[in-house]
Each structure stands twice: as C-alpha cells, then as structure tokens.
C-alpha cells in the first residue's frame, strides 16, 4: 500500500463507486444463484441434484474434464519444455498458435468438430458406416472440451520455464542425470505451482464450458448433457429452482477454484516461483 495524497472525499467517492459496482455486478449474482436454488426449500434443492439426469450430467462433466485436463497437462509440459529449453525457428509463431483456441468463439470451437465428424462432415459417412458417433455423443464433447481448454497449462508454463533458464538442467546433465531424471527431480519441483495453477484454471473451464459443448452435444438427456447443458434445459423448461440448484454446483466449483487459485498464488510467492499470469 502506498501513501497517497488524494483528498478524503475523492478516496471515499471512488471506493464507494467501486464497491457498489462490485456489489451489483459480482456479489449480487453470486448471492442470487444460491437464493434462487433454495427458493423452494432444501428438499427441492437436493431432489434436483439427485435426479438421474442431473447425476448423469455430473458424471459426463467429470469424464470430459478427466480426459481433457490430463491431456492438456501433458501437452502443456511438452510444449513448454520444447519452447523454453531449446531454440528453433518459428518459436514465436508456435506460441501464438498455442494461444489460438482462446480467441476462437466457443460456438465456432464446437462447429469445427461438427464439420469434421458430423454427418455431413469429412469423416461423417465413414463414421456412420462403422457405426461410430462423435458428434452428438461423448467423444465430441470431450474433443470440444480439449479445444477450449487447450492453452491453459502451456501458457502458464512457457513464460515460467523461460524465466528459469536451462542452467540447472545442464548441471543435472553433467552430473549424469538422464532425461526423465532431469525433468522429475529438477524441472518439475521448480514449476509445480505454476503447473497446478494452470491445471486449476484448465479444470474450471473444462467443467464449466457451455457454448462449444452445446454445439456438439445434441442435448440428449441422460446421455450427452453436461452440467451446464442440464442447467440450460431445466431453465428453458421453467424449472428455475432446479436449474439454479444444479447451477449452484458450478458456482461452488467457481468459488473453490478462486480459493485454490489464491492458495497457489500464495504458495508460489512463498517459494519464489513467479507465476506468469495472475488470472
């Protein structure tokens, strides 16, 4: 906190405006989710969560995140290793391409897979012949989830590992360590908080993704609905309390994510690992 010479009335005015806006735009919606969820009582709340369709949506969400997050984690580590520890032409282009999925609209992210695997897509006829389904089925949901969470781990690790340089790895090499030993004993402990940070953000987005998954899912109840899609269906069918009950799960996920994020930021600062992106 720096001392400042702003007059008291300026400070009070600005702080009040900031807090009122914060209250209206961030706090109020958060409170509203839980209030609406409990509007018809705890009984209705838990009934909405215990519905088979809700449970299957939870299961599918966990499955999609359970596949997408580890894959993008492995990718993020591999990409960061290649980019941060070696020099090669086209590196800057590669970094930009890795960030690409962030700038693509979620709806388009779903669309591109429909165009490849959908009935009218490139592989559509072949898939149909072999009785395989990607679009309007679980594989499509997983693919779309991988796409929208693609850059999270990589963009966290690349700047962190670039800043740490290669001297420690070289030292380990001269001391006789093999590739995996260098990575697991020297590199990994140095990047663990950044890695965890990326995984937390990646997971939050994977579980909460709506637009991309919506395009490829087909909204088949009990089969291809994730939690956000289930919320949409309940809401559109005027089951507001049930919709908010299920939505409250996602709100809790968001709060847990924010808390975990703060904890990791704190841990990282303690161990001297500067995190690259603090959001």
């Amino acid at each position: 906190m720096r001392s400042n010479s702003d007059p008291l009335w300026v400070r009070l005015l600005l702080t009040s405006v900031a807090l009122v806006f914060f209250g209206l735009f961030l706090l109020l919606p958060l409170v509203a989710v839980f209030t609406e969820a409990l509007r018809k009582g705890l009984g209705t709340y838990f009934a909405a969560l215990a519905e088979p369709e809700a449970l299957s949506a939870v299961w599918l969400t966990l499955l999609a995140a359970g596949i997408a997050v580890p894959l993008n984690l492995v990718f993020g580590v591999a990409a960061a290793w290649a980019i941060a520890k070696f020099d090669f032409p086209g590196k800057q282009v590669l970094i930009t391409l890795i960030d690409l999925p962030f700038s693509v609209s979620p709806v388009v992210s779903g669309l591109i897979y429909v165009l490849i695997f959908g009935l009218q897509g490139w592989f559509g006829p072949w898939l149909a012949e072999h009785n395989l389904k990607v679009i309007f089925a679980v594989p499509g949901i997983v693919l779309a989830t991988i796409f929208v969470t693609f850059p999270f781990v990589a963009r966290e690790l690349i700047p962190l590992m670039q800043a740490q340089g290669t001297e420690e790895e070289q030292a380990a090499r001269v001391l006789g360590a093999r590739g995996w030993q260098i990575f697991s004993r020297v590199t990994l402990p140095n990047i663990k908080w950044g890695l965890l940070y990326g995984v937390i953000l990646c997971n939050a987005r994977a579980m909460g993704e709506f637009g991309a998954v919506s395009v490829v899912s087909g909204h088949i109840r009990g089969r291809t609905n994730t939690i956000p899609l289930h919320v949409e269906i309940l809401y559109n069918e005027y089951h507001a309390a049930a919709a908010f009950a299920v939505a409250s799960l996602l709100a809790i996920l968001a709060l847990v994510t924010l808390a975990a994020k703060m904890a990791v930021e704190w841990k990282a600062r303690q161990s001297g690992q500067e995190l690259a992106h603090e959001h």
Partner: protein, 363 residues
C-alpha cells in the same frame, strides 16, 4: 587425466567463437583459460564438458577421442558461473544428486552416499549447513556447494566457469587461495575460466591466453608474464607504457638511443617502425640522463605517493603520457616534485614490430 583439444572451431551464427584452437592440459595440473570477454574461453570450457558441440576438431581425454561422448558420459565436474544450484533441494541433496541419479547397479548405498556427502561438505567447510536451502547461503558458500556437488561424482576432470566472477573482492582472494590448496590436496586435473589476469597468474600451474577465439600464448605464469609472445599478451597481463621507435637495419632507435632489434625483425626489412613496451615498474627516473639505457625527457604531471609504490604520471615533449612506479626510498632520494622535468629511462622492455602490434588489437 590429461585433456587435449585439437583444432576446435565453433561458430554461433555469424559469430566465430573459436578458430582452430589447440591446447593441452597435462594430468593433475590446474590450468587457467584467460582472456577478455568475447575471447571464446567459456565456449572452450563448455566444449570440453560436452555442453557445447564444436563445428570441427576433437577433444581427447587421456588420448581417447571423447568428442562424441555426451555431457553425462564424460564424467567431468562442472562448476557454473552462477553456480546453478538446484533451488528446490537442500545443500545436502544438491551434493548427493549426482550419486542418486546413477543407474541402480552403480548407485552407492544410502549410507555410502550419506558418508560421501558429509566428507565433501567437510572438505568445503560447510559441514553444518547441509539442511540449508541454496537461497539461504552467501555467494561464497554457494560457490563451495557447487564445487562439492561437482566433486561428488568423482570426476576425472574439474571444470570451473569464472569460479569467482560473481563474488566481491575480499571473498575472491580467500576463495582462490583455498581453491589452490584444495587442488593440491586432491590433485584432480582442473581447468578454470577467468578474465582476471591476477587470478590466473596467482592460482594456475599453466595459463592459456585466448583472444578473439585464438590461443595467443600458453605457458607457466612466469613464462607468459616475463616473455609475452605478443603485444596483446603484454598489454593484457598488466599496465604498460608504449613508445614508438624507428627500425634501421638491425637497430631500433628510440629517442636518442639505439639498440639491437629482436631477431625476427632483422633481415633489413623496411619496417615502418617498432613499438616498445615497458611496464611502469621497469621505468626509472633521474635528474641526469643515464648512460647505456634508452631515455626521454618528460615532465611530471602528477604524483600518487600513497600505496606500496609511488606512482608518477609524466608527459613527454610530444605529449605522450607515461606511467612510472618507483620505490618510496628512490622517490624520496630524488626529491621529485610536480612540474619537474626529469629523464625517464627504461630498464627492461619488449620490442614488437608495428605490424605485429596492429594484429594485437585493442591497445
């Protein structure tokens, strides 16, 4: 183990770091690679370690070609300039690392590792700091951990990149004497890189002087200091005065004085001139022109009497600056004052042809 480097060339893009470099490091000796920044000395060290791959040339360990061996197969100990300690490990774990990553069949037992680490920490005088993290150590302590870590794998060769470069002057002095003693104790063939001529001359058995990616001279500290092979070496190894002379036949004329030209300059060349180098402590001042010695008239501009010797700044009639160093007794005996005109004579010097001194560059 002896090291031989033969005809090594290394370029980075357009920049040639090493050109056809050949050196020999006899077994058990402590050798300094000395040169200004950009001379290629660190690159040469990294090539010996296998951390850099030469464009051409070979590296021999005990006569056997090691060029294609990877860094992890060369069994060298390497101390990085900024230590490169593993920041997530304690001092103890840093030192133990090299033993822990050995394949199961070669790995010492837990107890053996433990004993060896303690022995090494004792050797580098850090016995009680085994549990510390690298961030909690001073620069000198980190340096010694890096050394212990490198020695833990019982390397055949120890390579040190600017081992004292990041330390302050006092710690530097202590550590380099300590390194010399340590080397005498364990007798491992060692090569270190430095840009500090005092450090190289004081610590090393042999000095290799590099300049612009080439070896300028190789020899014992005494040899290179007393008999510099080139103007560059002469200049690099200490303060120097330089005088221009004329060459006629087999004689060099310096002021009113003539002397024999060095053998390589004879043969009646029509050399445009010679450059005479003399160190400040090899100059003498007097009120009368000395006989049998080259001398000039010069005016005293400034006197610095504080220190082990008295430093006197002069200018010649032509306006060239001269630095001389006199013992205190001599200074008092002469009763020198600022503004006096005196005769400067040269007790010993080194003559290079002008062409040669152009090659030296940077003077």
């Amino acid at each position: 183990m002896s090291i031989e480097v033969q005809k090594i060339t290394k370029t980075f893009g357009d920049f040639t770091a090493l050109k056809d470099v050949t050196i020999k490091v006899p077994s058990g000796q402590l050798v300094a690679l000395l040169g200004p920044s950009g001379s290629g000395k660190t690159t040469l060290l990294r090539i010996i370690a296998g951390l850099e791959v030469p464009d051409s040339g070979t590296v021999l360990f005990d006569g056997a070609d090691a060029t294609s061996r990877s860094a992890r197969e060369r069994q060298v100990g390497f101390v990085f300039q900024h230590y490169a300690l593993f920041r997530n490990m304690s001092v103890f774990e840093n030192v133990a690392f090299g033993m822990r990553v050995k394949p199961k069949s070669e790995r010492p037992t837990k107890q053996a590792i433990n004993d060896r680490v303690h022995e090494l920490l004792r050797l580098v005088q850090l016995e009680r700091l085994g549990d510390r993290q690298p961030a909690q150590l001073s620069g000198g302590q980190r340096q010694r951990v890096a050394l212990a870590r490198a020695l833990a794998v019982q390397p055949k060769v120890l390579l040190l990149d600017e081992p004292f470069g990041a330390l302050d002057a006092k710690v530097r002095q202590e550590l380099r004497r300590w390194l010399r003693r340590l080397h005498d104790e364990i007798g491992i063939t060692s090569v270190f890189v430095t840009h500090d001529q005092d450090e190289a001359l004081e610590v090393a058995d042999r000095v290799v002087i590099l300049h612009d990616g080439r070896v300028e001279q190789e020899g014992t500290p005494e040899e290179v200091y007393e008999h510099p092979a080139s103007p560059f070496v002469y200049n690099f190894l200490g303060n120097v005065n330089l005088f221009h002379g004329r060459v006629e036949g087999s004689k060099v004329h310096l002021g009113d004085f003539s002397m024999d030209a060095p053998p390589d300059m004879e043969n009646g060349q029509t050399d445009p001139g010679a450059v005479v180098y003399a160190r400040p402590h090899l100059l003498d001042l007097d009120h009368e022109p000395p006989k049998n010695r080259p001398h000039f008239k010069a005016k005293i501009v400034h006197i610095h009497p504080a220190g082990a010797v008295v430093k006197v700044e002069l200018t010649t009639d032509a306006g060239n600056p001269i630095n001389a160093e006199l013992p205190h007794e001599r200074y008092r005996g002469l009763g020198l004052q600022k503004g006096m005109t005196v005769f400067v004579s040269v007790r010993d010097m080194k003559v290079f042809s002008k062409a040669q001194s152009m090659l030296g560059g940077g003077i």
